[in-house]
Symmetry: C2
Subunit: 151 residues, 2 copies
Amino acid sequence: MTHNDPQKRYDTIIRKFRENNHKLTPQRLAVARILAKSEGHPGVESIYEQLKEDFPTMSLATVYRNVMLIKSLGEVLELGFPEGGNRYDGNKPYPHPHVICVRCKKIIDPNLTGLQDLTQEVAAASGFKILTHRMDFFGLCEECLSSQDAD
Amino acid sequence: MTHNDPQKRYDTIIRKFRENNHKLTPQRLAVARILAKSEGHPGVESIYEQLKEDFPTMSLATVYRNVMLIKSLGEVLELGFPEGGNRYDGNKPYPHPHVICVRCKKIIDPNLTGLQDLTQEVAAASGFKILTHRMDFFGLCEECLSSQDAD
DNA sequence: TTTGCTGCAAATAGTTTGCAGAGAC
DNA sequence: GTCTCTGCAAACTATTTGCAGCAAA
């Protein structure tokens, strides 16, 4: 429930690449490495910035394509936002609650002990066959609460 | 908890308009009327289509501006989606769970009895001051389950 | 050698904005 | 009469796509 081993996650993603006959390019492996740890739930722009150091010619389009590829393999959870700037979690690629700071955009995984699975109840109440879900809590993190300066 | 009286919701929105010195144009009132009942959680495009009958010159920009105005008055809940096509609920303009059909895009409000408020627990677990939340369940509605034809 | 990948630039689509005329009050 | 609102079209921005050259296997 806490944090998975980034190395194991990385190995799993690479295995999926091989199983599906995708070539192991340096750029692709680098994207996988960042998603495997997914520190801070990075966005495409953040991944791009991290990679530009090692790959000066790196293109944003390549980041998009590889993140989408890994998503299509079921190895990254995409947190899309209507305002744009999607965020990714390749460390825990299954639905789970998130807490999002509306000021600094930090995203963390809360440790909820008493969270029963609502899926059964929702299915019964709605008649739907539930496939997935999304649970986001928005607020201010401790840091942003302390520094209650202006915007 | 079920459905609010559209007339009362409409009156509330109009009152907010007056209180904040916004002019009561026919287009604005028409948007408010549709949001007050919010049947099926309409999107901007849907509102636009409904209004074009009465206002042949109606512009999409006007719908956007008035929906945003009503949102800024706290009288409509915006359900934004990363794929675009935001949906609105002016009948229950406060956070509540939604069940969304991934095929026909229907959105309903499930009647969840045993839903304790997780906000307290999330706040304790994360240190955040929680301001709002979003809870979406995605799946297939009964109609789409029955007609299991192709896409 | 073959096939898929990358980088660049152009295209896309939902939403927002500038501006001039129209309308609420 | 004043000031906001509307309608139109252009702008905006995150993301996607076409294409030619390049690299993995």
